[in-house]
């Protein structure tokens, strides 16, 4: 059953992409119009629409690019490094 579901989705990559591109704006519209932000902790959360979406985008970029840069700076090394 699980395999069939995955195969079904894999066969329709376009539909999956469309679903995702629809989901995000819907979510953002809901978060701006339908969510009470008066209990948010910071000013930014309260007044910037879609704050957490922006925050996440930034966080992804920071983490992934930092990890790549950090890894390439010499931290990531050959697997037999300790075998000498």
């Amino acid at each position: 059953m699980i395999v069939q579901l995955i195969d079904f989705l894999k066969a329709r990559p376009k539909a999956v992409k469309t679903a995702a591109t629809i989901a995000l704006p819907v979510l953002l519209v809901w978060s701006v119009t339908g969510v009470d932000t008066s209990h948010a902790h910071t000013w930014a959360e309260r007044y910037i629409p879609g704050f957490w979406a922006l925050f996440t985008l930034l966080a992804c970029l920071v983490l992934v690019f930092f990890a790549r840069w950090f890894g390439k700076s010499g931290i990531m090394t050959r697997e037999d490094y300790y075998d000498d």
Partner: protein, 596 residues
């Protein structure tokens, strides 16, 4: 205070000792019933909070084997539950020694959790360290032996720090009770105890042992290890160091550090190990914040973490069990072969990523909310950033590299891959069920938390919208960034470099300069020492022969000659002369005696 109680750890220890005597067909039944009985004993103990098992040791110290309160109950509960899940997962393992080590390990953990003083705590602390080392050593894989030794050495070092700390504290205060330390009045012992406990919680820079050992343990051993050591340490930190500000900083560093390394990792269990470092970072930060909500969050997150991390390690173990491969560069595209394992791994992944309806959603948010409420905005935002990273790593990268994407498997791996035996399925099912239960029926977890009057509502529209934004954007970002997170045949250097090379330096010192010194000393001894010794010995032999012996022989000859001379004078054979000499001599003696 009552003394009649049954310590759950005792049940496990006795159960472990008797295990080799139990034969099939009762063995599996026995394997299941001992942890279940232990769990029942935990429930019975938690039912009536109080202090049990106080023993006066050497007329001086009062040992407390069971202090049952709100904080120890929740940790005892989850440890007992995980012991059942872990044992079911390992039910197919024929080697009794592995079960024995696991049970002793869990017994150590339960012992620490209920311990009321440092002596009992230390006893069980070391039991944990030694028993878990065997879970690494029992793995026949190359490198496991060395990893086990590194693990043991590091933990022995941590144990010594803890020992030094509480002995110094006893000397200063005369107190061995294991209780909250004062942040305003810190001493050397405060920091030593903290360092000893932090080593087990894998707080940087004392963390490298964790991914190192957990990736080399046996498949079932890793499932036990991922649950007990770090979370027991979190409990001890929450008990002794709640509200210590330094832990907030260390916890946040730890959360970021772990996730960055997890993003680079190529080994499936090392990735999960780094994820533990990251998630325990939340808990350590929660302990540091120290408010009621933060401590509740720490306990809730530890509880949820044991379940979903256990589930992830079980799913990873199932992959390694069936394929024998642990590197992402040799895995991929396995979803058709192991659909159930994939489903469980995804449930674990979305639980840790705080999907609504799953355990992480109701636990992690408490710590983040507590940091915002304590006006630690930097901590709140950085921990939220780590939430993003967590979903990237455990929710997306891990299942993607194992089950989806292109297959990097060899034909042999592909043909061997299959869903694991029924017992592994059952254990994963139980863990997945609890992940879901915790996320949907809040009273189950929240009623166990230490501060019962502090309320938290995770399912608010704001929290839902925040979490969904994080999850959806991360998922979309992953599609674009996945090539940068692809599997690479590398290892990542970490602080264990220092002790690995430190060990090599020591070996080099021993092999080269010290060995040279030893050889040179041996040669010098042979040339100078031995020759000198022989010359001296010859001289003394000569002296003995000619000097000592000559003197002794000469005096003997002299005495004999004098005797002969005297005999010629005194003993001529005339009896009257002899009597005359004798009487004269006696008279002289007598007169001398009387006069003097």
């Amino acid at each position: 205070m009552t003394t009649s109680f049954l310590h759950p750890a005792l049940l496990l220890i006795v159960g472990a000792v008797l295990l080799p005597l139990v034969r099939e067909p009762f063995r599996k039944l026995y394997l299941c019933s001992v942890p279940i009985a232990t769990f029942v004993a935990v429930l019975a103990l938690n039912w009536q909070p109080g202090v049990y098992g106080e023993v006066v040791f050497m007329d001086r110290w009062t040992l407390t084997f069971a202090r049952v309160d709100n904080l120890s109950s929740i940790f005892g509960f989850i440890m007992g539950l995980m012991a059942i899940i872990g044992t079911i997962y390992g039910l197919h393992v024929k080697d009794n020694w592995q079960h024995l080590a696991s049970w002793f390990y869990v017994a150590g953990s339960l012992g620490v959790i209920y311990a009321g003083d440092y002596l009992v705590l230390f006893l069980f602390w070391e039991m944990m360290a030694f028993a878990s080392t065997f879970l690494v050593w029992f793995n026949k894989e190359e490198g496991a032996l060395a990893a086990g030794y590194r693990y043991l050495l590091v933990h022995t070092f941590g144990g010594v720090l803890l020992l030094l700390g509480f002995v110094l504290r006893y000397q200063a205060t005369g107190d061995i009770s294991f209780a909250l330390l004062n942040e305003q009045d810190t001493h050397l012992f405060t920091w030593l105890i903290m360092a000893g406990l932090m080593l087990n919680a894998a707080v940087p820079p004392l963390h490298s042992w964790l991914p190192d050992a957990y990736s080399k343990a046996t498949v079932t051993g890793a499932v036990f290890m991922c649950a007990f050591t770090t979370k027991t340490a979190v409990y001890t930190l929450a008990r002794a160091f709640a509200g210590f500000d330094i832990l907030i900083v260390l916890g946040v560093i730890m959360a970021i550090y772990g996730i960055v390394y997890a993003l680079m990792e190529n080994d499936i269990r090392r990735l999960l190990g780094w994820e533990i470092v990251s998630q325990v970072g939340y808990m350590v930060a929660g302990v540091g914040i120290g408010t009621a909500l933060a401590i509740n969050g720490t306990c809730a997150h530890a509880f949820a973490h044991i379940l979903y991390k256990g589930l992830l390690f079980m799913a990873a173990g199932a992959v390694i069990h069936s394929t024998g491969v642990c590197r992402f560069t040799e895995l991929g595209g396995l979803y058709k072969k192991m659909p159930n394992t994939m489903a469980f791994m995804i449930i674990g992944g979305i639980s840790v990523s705080a999907f609504p309806l799953f355990s992480g959603f109701v636990s992690k948010a408490m710590i983040v909310a507590a940091s915002f409420e304590a006006h630690l905005l930097w901590a709140g935002f950085l921990l939220s950033m780590v939430s993003v990273g967590t979903f990237l790593v455990a929710g997306l990268r891990l299942p993607y590299l194992v089950f989806f994407g292109e297959s990097r498997c060899s034909e042999e791996t592909m043909s061997r891959a299959s869903d694991p035996p029924w017992n592994m399925h059952l254990a994963m099912l139980v863990a997945a069920f609890f992940c879901f239960l915790v996320g949907t029926y809040m009273p189950f977890l929240y009623d166990m938390l230490p501060y019962r009057d502090t309320t938290f509502h995770p399912y608010t529209s704001y929290h839902l919208s925040e979490t969904l934004q994080i999850l959806v954007v991360t998922a979309i970002a992953f599609v674009f960034l996945k090539d940068r997170l692809a599997a690479r045949p590398t290892i990542s250097l970490d602080l264990d470099w220092f002790y690995r090379y430190g060990g090599r330096l020591f070996l080099w010192l021993a092999e080269r300069p010290l060995q040279w010194l030893d050889t040179a000393w041996g040669a010098a001894y042979r040339v100078v020492g031995l020759y000198g010794l022989m010359v001296t010995a010859r001289f003394w032999a000569w002296f003995d022969w000619h000097g000592i012996d000559g003197l002794v022989d000469g005096s003997a000859l002299c005495v004999r000659a004098i005797g002969r001379r005297l005999a010629l004078v005194l003993q001529r054979g005339h009896i009257q002369q002899t009597i005359y000499y004798a009487v004269t001599f006696a008279a002289i003696i007598l007169i001398a005696y009387v006069c003097l």
